[in-house]
């Protein structure tokens, strides 16, 4: 069964350092989401791509976060510089077409700890 791949699974970084996460969605999925989930809370949408274009990044802290999906396939989320409050699970999800509200498939996530 096809899965959304994320790496790394775990990342520990010092504050003020740069960190990057990678996501490979299910083949053929046009919509890709990056979410941040703090323990005990629901996933918070950071950025949504439709193919290579950003559809929504209204909740992305653009002073330190950036996301790209250059060829409309895999995607990278970067934080620079990392802050203590960025410690969370970063989840990537993809769907066949978010615009037609098909189900979202989530990856295992990257657990980030900033020390």
């Amino acid at each position: 069964e096809a899965e959304v791949a994320q790496s790394p699974r775990y990342k520990i970084t010092e504050k003020s350092q740069a960190v990057a996460f990678w996501c490979d969605p299910i083949s053929g999925h046009a919509t890709l989401y990056w979410y941040r989930q703090i323990l005990g809370q629901g996933p918070e949408l950071l950025v949504q791509f439709q193919d290579e274009s950003v559809v929504d990044d209204s909740q992305l802290p653009k002073d330190r976060f950036s996301a790209e999906r250059l060829k409309g396939v895999d995607s990278t989320l970067k934080i620079q510089p990392a802050e203590l409050g960025d410690s969370a699970m970063y989840l990537c999800a993809s769907s066949l077409s978010g615009l037609f509200n098909t189900e979202a498939f989530f990856g295992q996530g990257t657990r980030l700890t900033v020390v």
Partner: protein, 112 residues
Amino acid sequence: GQQVMQIPQYQHVQEGEDFTTYCNSSTTLSNIQWYKQRPGGHPVFLIQLVKSGEVKKQKRLTFQFGEAKKNSSLHITATQTTDVGTYFCAANGSSNTGKLIFGQGTTLQVKP
């Protein structure tokens, strides 16, 4: 921005008891999805509701979408220990951009 409120935050039940979680939005939704996240896992899609007043069943789970398309509920009959986890509703606003906003979730604990 668009928000969905979910209650209760936690629910502890004895195995065999029923469980319900509610999701509410101040704005009309184009559709709503429900996900389950097991402890240590990632959200997994359960179902999508699109039509006003829609009711769907999956074995012991019953999902409802309100007539005004502003609220939804998930009801589990006769809970089992395998139902443990956090249940999230995820809403798509009426503009239907595919933006999926999650509620805070309801964490269900089931005592055997």
